[in-house]
């Protein structure tokens, strides 16, 4: 009794299957290609309207109770690092900043400056006591500095040239090697203009 109508259903299903499967397979393939060709997670160069411009002011009182301005370190490469003691990627990148600072301490050609974002001076002090790091750290009234640099989500790092120009913005945790590579890149004679590349 199930005659021709019942026989037609599996045939129709068999025809429909490739029509559904092929687009799904194509989408999956495109996804794999997209994920395979993307920049790896972690630190990335990011676009910023500030790149190529004079660095916005970074000034305030440090954890050591000293007055700090960017002018104090003019002539050195400056790594302006926005961080939070509550932020896991910031905790992960911290040893790299310590390594970077130690490597440049004697030459005095580069320094780190940390600016706390949405944090309390007490927590920031404990963060540095626990994890080390001997460079200027601003922890109070830093909202204006963060907005001045267009900070969205920490950690964000800006590389400022010895002449005070922002040459790169990096989002995510940085490494000492990456910072040195960028400094080498922009110190090389051919490097005339900063790159404002991918995000």
């Amino acid at each position: 009794m199930n005659g021709p109508a019942a026989d037609a259903a599996p045939v129709r299903r068999r025809r429909l299957a490739p029509l559904v499967a092929i687009p799904v397979a194509v989408v999956m393939l495109l996804l794999v290609i997209l994920l395979a060709t993307r920049d790896p997670a972690g630190e990335r160069l990011a676009k910023s309207p500030l790149v190529g411009k004079q660095a916005p002011p970074v000034e305030g009182v440090t954890l050591k109770n000293e007055q700090f301005t960017l002018d104090r370190v003019r002539g050195e490469w400056v790594v302006v690092n926005f961080f939070g003691s509550w932020c896991t990627p910031c905790i992960q990148e911290h040893p790299e900043l310590v390594t970077f600072q130690d490597a440049h301490r004697s030459a005095r050609d580069a320094t780190v400056v940390s600016v706390a974002f949405s944090d309390s001076p007490t927590n920031v002090r404990q963060f540095f006591e626990k994890r080390g790091g001997d460079w200027p750290v601003l922890s109070a009234n830093t909202n204006s500095i963060a907005v001045g640099y267009g900070v969205i989500k920490v950690p964000e790092t800006f590389l400022v040239s010895p002449s005070g120009v922002v040459v790169a913005k990096l989002i995510g945790g940085v490494t000492a090697g990456r910072l040195d590579a960028l400094i080498d890149k922009y110190t090389a004679p051919a490097a005339t203009t900063p790159v404002t590349t991918t995000r």
């Binding site: 309207p49 949405s118 909202n143 204006s144 907005v147 001045g148």
Partner: protein, 159 residues
Amino acid sequence: MNPRWRSIGWVGALTVVIVALTFATLSHHSQPTNAERSLDLAEQFACPVCEGQSVAQSDSAAAVAIRAEIATRIDQGQTNAQITDYLIGRFNESISLKPRATGVVGLVWITPVVAFITAVAGLVVVFRRWHLADVAEASDADRVLVERARAKLAAKARP
């Protein structure tokens, strides 16, 4: 009631409404407080970390910092345009929920107007063409046909 008095009553009521609305609008916009300006401006910027929320609505750290910066700059006497330029210069154009009317971004405002005018002009042209197409002119052949028909009718009408 005399219709004349009724008309005067309506005109009077309308006048009162217009005056009240004008007064309310002007008194509201003439002297906004710094807090009102701050809130108004914060509503014109997108929270940079949260989709679909303005700086005024979001409690993210970035939004809180931007709100504080807007308030500080208003207290310093900066204009809305100065504050807008500052924030766009730091975060880029995408932070603004109200696209500017200048440069390439201005196309956002101009394009719909141009599209509307073009569409209206197109409709006018099409309707005119349709209207002209409806007015058909009789050809010589048509006239001959009509004359023949009239002649037939006249012949039938004769006794």
